[in-house]
Symmetry: C2
Subunit: 342 residues, 2 copies
C-alpha cells in the first residue's frame, strides 16, 4: 500500500448547459491512514446519477452545492481494507458509502452501511437495491399511492429508476407501459422485463397520440423522470384522480434558459390530479420493507436490471455526461477498483 496513490475527480468549474469532460479534473493524493476508530476503504464501484447535475449549480437546494476545486461525492461501494473499529467493520467487508468519485478514503463508521452480497451483486446496491431502486419504490407506492391493477406510465423506463419502477408496478398487477429512447431499449422493456408496451419517444410523431394509443382508458399513475413533452403527453391522458410522482425532469437539468413548462397543467384541475415531488432521502424509513420485497422478487425472477459499466475513475466524467445523452442502458456505473483488495 505504501506506493499506492489515491485518485479522485474534482469539479474544475461549474458546467454551463451539458457538462463537458474538462469541467472536471483528475487529481492524485496520498492514500490516507485511518485514525482512531476509523476504517480505510477502497472503492470498487461508483455511481453517476442525474441529480448530481443539480449539485454542480451554485444555488439553494436540498443538498449543498459541490465546491469548485474540491472532490465530488456520491454513492459508491467499497471494501474495508484496514479497520481500527473491528467491532463494526472488518477488513474484507463490503460497504455502501457516500464518498464516490475517489478511490480510497478513511471514515468513521457513520455513513458506511455493510451490505449483503447474497441478495444481489455488490454494485446492485448502487442501483436496483440502492438509492435508484428505493426511489422507484417510494415514488410509486408512497408518493403515487399505487393500487394493484392500475394503469401506469413510466418515462425513461429503461433507466436505473424507471426499469425498477416498471417491474414494481408489474409485480403489483398493473398494466404498465414505459417510454425509452431506442428500439433496443423498448424491446428490453417488453421482452425481458415483460411490461405491456413501450414507446420509443424519439420515433413518436406526437407523444400525446402515442400515449393515448397505449392507454385507451387513460393513466392512473404517471411516474415522471423526464419533464418536457413527456409531462404534456401524460397530462393529456390522465384519468380522474390520477397521480404524478415527480421523481426527476432530466430534460431540464442542463437547460441554460428557463424551459417552457407544461401548457396543459390546468388539466390537473378538471381531472383532480395530484403532482407530487419528492426526494428519496426523506423515505429511507421504507428501506427494510423495500429490501425484503426486492429480495423476494429477485428470488422469484421478477426483478431484473441492466448495468452500463465504464472502467477506471478517469472515465467517471464521461459516464456522468453520458446520462444526458441516454448512453446508459439501465444503471450507469464506473468500476474504480479491483473486486477485492484484501
Amino acid at each position: 500500500m505504501s506506493n499506492q496513490k489515491n485518485r479522485e475527480i474534482r469539479l474544475k468549474r461549474r458546467p454551463v448547459g451539458v457538462p463537458k469532460t474538462d469541467d472536471f479534473e483528475l487529481a492524485e493524493t496520498e492514500v490516507p491512514t485511518p485514525g482512531h476508530g476509523q476504517v480505510l476503504v477502497r472503492n470498487i464501484f461508483m455511481s453517476v446519477d442525474p441529480y448530481m447535475r443539480g449539485r454542480m449549480v451554485d444555488r439553494r437546494s436540498y443538498v449543498p452545492p459541490f465546491q469548485i476545486g474540491e472532490v465530488l461525492s456520491g454513492g459508491a461501494i467499497g471494501q474495508v481494507v484496514a479497520s481500527n473499529n473491528n467491532k463494526e467493520f472488518k477488513a474484507g467487508d463490503y460497504v455502501s458509502n457516500g464518498l464516490g468519485w475517489r478511490e480510497w478514503f478513511v471514515s468513521p463508521s457513520q455513513g458506511l452501511q455493510k451490505l449483503d452480497p447474497k441478495i444481489g451483486p455488490i454494485q446492485s446496491y448502487l442501483g436496483a437495491l440502492g438509492m435508484p431502486g428505493l426511489t422507484a419504490y417510494a415514488g410509486l407506492l408512497r408518493i403515487g399511492e399505487l393500487k394493484n391493477g392500475e394503469r401506469v406510465f413510466v418515462s425513461a423506463a429503461s433507466g436505473a429508476v424507471g426499469s425498477i419502477a416498471v417491474q414494481i408496478a408489474k409485480n403489483k398487477g398493473c398494466y404498465v407501459v414505459g417510454s425509452a429512447g431506442s428500439d433496443e431499449k423498448c424491446k428490453f422493456l417488453t421482452e425481458e422485463l415483460g411490461i405491456d408496451g413501450a414507446i420509443n419517444y424519439r420515433k413518436a410523431k406526437d407523444l400525446t397520440t402515442a400515449v393515448r394509443e397505449a392507454f385507451h382508458e387513460g393513466i392512473d399513475v404517471y411516474f415522471e423522470n423526464v419533464g418536457g413533452e413527456h409531462l404534456v403527453a401524460a397530462l393529456n391522458n390522465m384519468r380522474v384522480n390520477g397521480r404524478i410522482p415527480l421523481c426527476g425532469m432530466i430534460d431540464q437539468y442542463n437547460a441554460t434558459e428557463l424551459p417552457a413548462g407544461p401548457g396543459n397543467l390546468a388539466m390537473a384541475i378538471g381531472m383532480s390530479l395530484t403532482l407530487r415531488g419528492y426526494i428519496v432521502s426523506n423515505h429511507y424509513d421504507m428501506m427494510p420493507k423495500f429490501l425484503e420485497d426486492m429480495a423476494k422478487w429477485i428470488k422469484e425472477g421478477k426483478m431484473k436490471w441492466r448495468e452500463t459499466i465504464l472502467e477506471g475513475i478517469e472515465k467517471a466524467p464521461e459516464a456522468f455526461i453520458g446520462l444526458f445523452r441516454g448512453d446508459n442502458f439501465g444503471k450507469m456505473l464506473v468500476k474504480i477498483g479491483p473486486d477485492s483488495a484484501v
Copy 2:
C-alpha cells in the same frame, strides 16, 4: 302572471378567446306552468363564474359543454311562486338552484335547496355561503391540508373564492398575503379583511421578488386561482413540503394557443411540493361543517365579502365577460328578478 314572459340567455356561438357580448343572445319564452309535483320558481339572482368559460368549449371535461342555441345554466337563487309539492316547497320559499341565465323555470324538487336567509342575505348563497365559499374551504383545508399558523399566499384574493380563502386562513391563525389587480382591492384586503399583506400584481415589476418580500420564510400553502406568472412566482418561494391547491387558472381560460406552463415546475421535486387540482362538486360532503363554521365566523364579524351586482338578465353576458378583466370586486352577480314575487 298571464302576460308575464320569461327571458333567458342562450349561447349563440362558441367564443374564441375572450368572450364577446354577441356570442350570447337574449330570447323570450312563455313562463312555464308547473306540472304534477313541480314548483314554479322566479330567479332573483344569478351567478357568473370563471368555470363557465370552460363549458363554452366543445370538449371532454367534468361537465358536458353548453350547446349552441340553448339556454345556459349555472348557480341562481330564486323564490318559489307556485308549488304543486307543498310538503317540500311553499310559495315564498327561497331556493338555490342550478338553472341560472333564465328568469323563470319549473322544476321537480330535486336540484332545489331551500336556503336559510338568517345566516346571510339570499345572494350570499351564490358566493360566500355557496359554491365559491365551499371552494375556498375545501381547497385550503382538505386539498391544501392547511395547518394553523402556516404561511398562506392566495391569488385573485379579492375575488369570490379568494376573499373567502384569505379569511378562512386568517381565522386559522395563519400569516396571509393575497394578490389583487388594483390598489383599491389591495386596501380592501389589508384594511377591511385584515390580512397581513397584499400585492398589486399589475404594479409589481417582478412577481417572484414581490412575493419573496412578503414571504421571507417562504410559503406553506399557495391557493392557485390564476396560473401564469403567479404560479411561477409561488413555486420560486415555496417551503419544503409546501402544498398548492389548484383551484383555477383564470389567466388561461381564454387562451387561443396553449399557454406556456411554469418553467420552474421542477422546483416541486427538490422542495417536495404537492400540486393538487380539484373541483368543488366532489367535496359537497363538507357543506354542513362549512356552513356551521361560516355562520360562526359571520356572527363573530370574522367573515366579510363584497359583491358586484349588475341589474337585469340582459347584463349577464357583460357581467360574465367582466370576470376576465377583473371588473368584479368580490362576487360578481346579476339581479334578474324582484326581491319578492309572492
